[in-house]
Amino acid sequence: MDLKLKVWRQKNAKEKGKIVNYDAKGISPDMSFLEMIDVVNEDLIVKGDDPIAFEHDCREGICGSCNIMINGEAHGPLPGVTTCQLHMRSFKDGDTIYLEPWRAKAFPVIKDLVVDRSGFDRIIQSGGFVSINTGGAPDANALPIPKKDADVAMDAATCIGCGACVASCKNASAMLFVSAKVSHLALLPQGQVEKKERVKNMVNAMDKEGFGNCTNQYECEAACPKDIKRDFIRVLNKEFILS
């Protein structure tokens, strides 16, 4: 396949960015989206140009590193898929594809398609944990948890922190991400003791980072590569009101 790429190039956080055109030639439908960029980059380096900077690591859909707006959609056109797991068979020969970084004030651009998502870490650092020191924990089976609760907690805990929810929200809201963590711990007995402080601290941290608010349009759910459900936002709101 031959494709036309329109890529956001931005040298660093201070300089202005712009869309630059590239040709991606001889692309196999079996390539992942990132492998397609690898091919383009190899070509750019040989020609003496700067390769396109983009974030990636595990390339198997779990580390949450990869983050590209593809034709205006976070992680591209397929539901439930990260950019690294998006394959070129989802595109047609001759297609034009736009590649842009996550768009959100709280995720400033570092270079090209790479953005700074450390705001998510600071939200977790404000309270997204159970305060337990190592050693001295009771036997694991001393605390039975209904399978249903454990399963729903697991569904929430599946969030990979990629930021697609923020990037696809017109308000750049981080509520799906925060609600996933809050729900995961609120659904388990271990999370009960610090439940109220946790939700207050995390919501405050979220606001401080400059993420916007939820207006119930659920673009986040549609864009989430791990199918995190919007129901968790309801849990977040409930927990916040109860706190």
């Binding site: 140009d49 390769p51 900077a53 580390c63 650092q125 190592t134 039975p144 805990a157």
Partner: protein, 638 residues
């Protein structure tokens, strides 16, 4: 120099408890007077950083990802072992210890492995207390499943995302300590050197990957938790950023590298689809619980698998290993797949694949149950291959996965360089020549939560507080200058070839000459070719851009330069070890039936290599492995 493993005396089952009761302690009020540097935030580094900070030490932690939550431990799928015996099926600490020693083909140190089995039970308690959502039974208790190399169900899991959940547990403990100010976290940084002063590791050289700035950091001890080196093969299941740099540069500063030839080839990966491929995706070993592995009985049979009747299928693992069947250990399952493919029975493009078939499990249990057990894995497979595994069998082929070799450490997890501790996959200690499934997570967390926090205290108490060197020390200056010199060298070569093209070329040689099977001839050939590639690299590599901003080509150049030296060490180790064991299969040393043939008289030892310069032969040191509790026996899974 002799290698002192410092194994405590006394009976095996009492060693760790006795050791803990007699080590030197650091007074709680003095702990804050010590600084510890941790490199890496996977299960080992994340849990160690959190636990050391909980104890009161000052911790500085570095990772190259944008967030500590993205370390490659996150990709582990199947589960974590622990000798809880919740299933009442006969498990015990001794049995987990025995299975691990046997699984590692009797090339691991007994005392370390026994300790690992002992603390395994605490890990599960710790993680549950943190809120890790392990799978549960309807009664509310934890569920378990079985894994390769074991006949009991001791594997705890969280869907197919166990590594993710355990890492997020460690990350949350680490985040808590960052929030409290007890850990200073440096994401997007890379360690370029270890600083050694008066024979002790006292600091590191770090490059900020965004600003390009090189800085030095001093400490009372340095902990490397930087993972394995599987990416020396270019194609592997490792994350793209996984590299050997931290351990290799410590090796160049005097730490010994042990058993680099022990690389684990995982049997259940999605086969390579073309030259563009950048990495391989693993399908969890847990799939072997319900999937049956087979190839057609006729060579080159290209029929649709559904059209091949039962009588014309060869379930070769069930045939060769009736008692373990599809659950035989990874090295055996991998080699068997290679054998049938080499003999012309492979399926899929190029004949490099075997079927992993769920049809009988779906008939027996229903599609719903299979979807519940492995749904996300099936989805991932379909996404990558475009085939629906509920309808047609998966195709799998072995791929480089985990590395059992690493820096040599003693019972304290300290390298031969005092003050340099090495934990998790970065050290060599617990898995011998082959790692059993669900044991990597166990070792990472055991080292980080429950072993290092004791053993490092013993060292720190001995050296005393208030001795953190100033970064003005000449050794820091020299290391910083050396790092900058190398970075500038990469940028100034301005050759014609990309870094990746060298990495791919090296990887092909490693896989073809030192992959699932190695011979005297193939290894000697590799040892001629690797220095040639290295020579060309230093003349003809093209690293665009500058050193003063985010430059991914420059990052890769440093890592590939290290792989080009390390690959030679790996092949030398493989050539020197003239036996077959676990993940190291020398074709010259096999039984009549093709099984690995160990040579306990000559090779019952760990080999630890000492750096002597680029291209110079490193010095070989040997730690004899004493088996006092387990009788050395030929592994049999029949």
């Amino acid at each position: 120099m002799s290698l002192d493993s410092k194994i405590p005396s006394g009976p095996l089952e009492k060693k760790w408890d006795d050791y803990k009761s007699h080590i030197k302690l650091v007074n709680p009020a003095n702990k804050r007077k010590y600084t510890v540097i941790v490199i890496g935030t996977g299960l080992a580094g994340g849990s160690a950083s959190a636990t050391l900070a909980e104890l009161g030490y000052n911790v500085k932690t570095f990772c190259f990802q944008d967030s500590p939550r993205r370390a490659h431990s996150i990709a582990a799928q199947g589960g974590i072992n622990a000798a809880k015996n919740y299933q009442n099926d006969g498990d015990s600490v001794y049995r987990l210890f025995y299975d691990t020693i046997k699984g590692g083909d009797f090339r691991a140190r007994e005392a370390n492995v026994y300790r690992l089995a002992q603390v395994s039970t605490n890990i599960i308690d710790q993680c549950v207390a943190q809120g890790v959502p392990f799978a549960r039974e309807y009664g509310g208790h934890l569920d378990n499943r079985s894994f390769g190399g074991a006949q009991v169900s001791r594997t705890f899991y969280a869907k197919g995302q166990t590594g993710q959940q355990l890492l997020l547990g460690a990350y949350s403990a680490l985040s808590r300590q960052i929030g409290l100010g007890n850990v200073k976290m440096y994401p997007r940084t890379e360690m370029l050197d270890v600083v050694v002063i008066d024979g002790h590791a006292k600091g590191v050289v770090i490059r900020d990957l965004v600003t390009g700035q090189v800085t030095v950091h001093s400490a009372d001890a340095v902990v490397l938790a930087s993972g394995g080196y599987g990416n020396v093969f270019y194609l592997s299941t490792n994350a793209k950023g996984s590299n050997v740099t931290a351990t290799f540069r410590a090796y160049k500063k005097g730490a010994f590298f042990a058993n680099p030839c022990y690389t684990q080839i995982h049997p259940t990966c999605i086969p390579v689809s073309g030259d563009h491929q950048s990495k391989l995706t693993l399908m969890s070993e847990s799939l072997r619980n319900d999937g049956r592995i087979w190839v057609p009985k006729k060579q080159g049979d290209t029929r649709n698998p559904a059209d091949i009747p039962e009588s014309e299928r060869d379930y070769y693992l069930e045939r060769k290993y009736p008692s373990y069947g599809n659950l035989c250990p990874r090295d055996i399952a991998s080699r068997s797949a290679k054998e049938v493919c080499d003999a012309g029975f492979g399926v899929g493009p190029g004949g490099q694949g075997v079927y992993l078939d769920f049809s009988s499990a779906i008939n027996r249990l229903g599609e719903h149950t299979i979807a519940e057990r492995y749904g996300n894995l099936f989805q991932m497979y379909e996404q990558i291959t475009g085939e629906n595994p509920y309808k047609v069998p998966m195709r799998i082929y072995p791929a480089v996965h985990y590395t059992m070799g690493g820096l040599w450490v003693d019972y304290n997890l300290m390298s031969n360089l005092p003050g340099l501790f090495v934990i998790g996959e970065a050290n060599f200690s617990d898995h011998g020549a082959n790692r059993l499934g669900a044991s990597a997570l166990m070792q990472g967390l055991a080292d980080g939560y429950f072993v290092l926090p004791y053993t490092i205290g013993n060292y720190l108490a001995e050296v005393g507080f208030g001795k953190t060197p100033s970064t003005d020390h000449a050794e820091f200056k020299k290391a910083e200058t050396d790092a900058n010199t190398q970075l500038n060298k990469f940028l100034n070569i301005k050759g014609k070839r990309t870094v990746d093209s060298f990495h791919k070329e090296l990887g092909k040689i490693m896989w073809n000459n030192c992959g699932m099977a190695r011979t005297d001839k193939s290894l000697k050939e590799a040892l001629v070719k690797i220095p040639e590639i290295r020579e060309e690299f230093w003349k003809n590599v093209n690293v665009p851009g500058s050193g003063s901003d985010l430059n991914q080509s420059l990052e890769k150049a440093g890592r590939v330069a290290d792989f080009l030296e390390f690959g030679e060490l790996l092949c030398l180790d493989a050539l020197t070890r003239e036996e077959s064991c676990g993940g190291h299969f020398r074709t010259e040393h096999q039984m009549d039936d093709g099984e690995a043939k160990r040579d306990d008289d000559k090779f019952c030892h760990a080999t630890a290599w000492e750096w002597k310069g680029v291209g110079a032969k490193p010095t070989e040191h040997r730690e004899k492995l004493e088996f006092e509790n387990i009788k050395l026996a030929t592994r049999s899974y029949k």
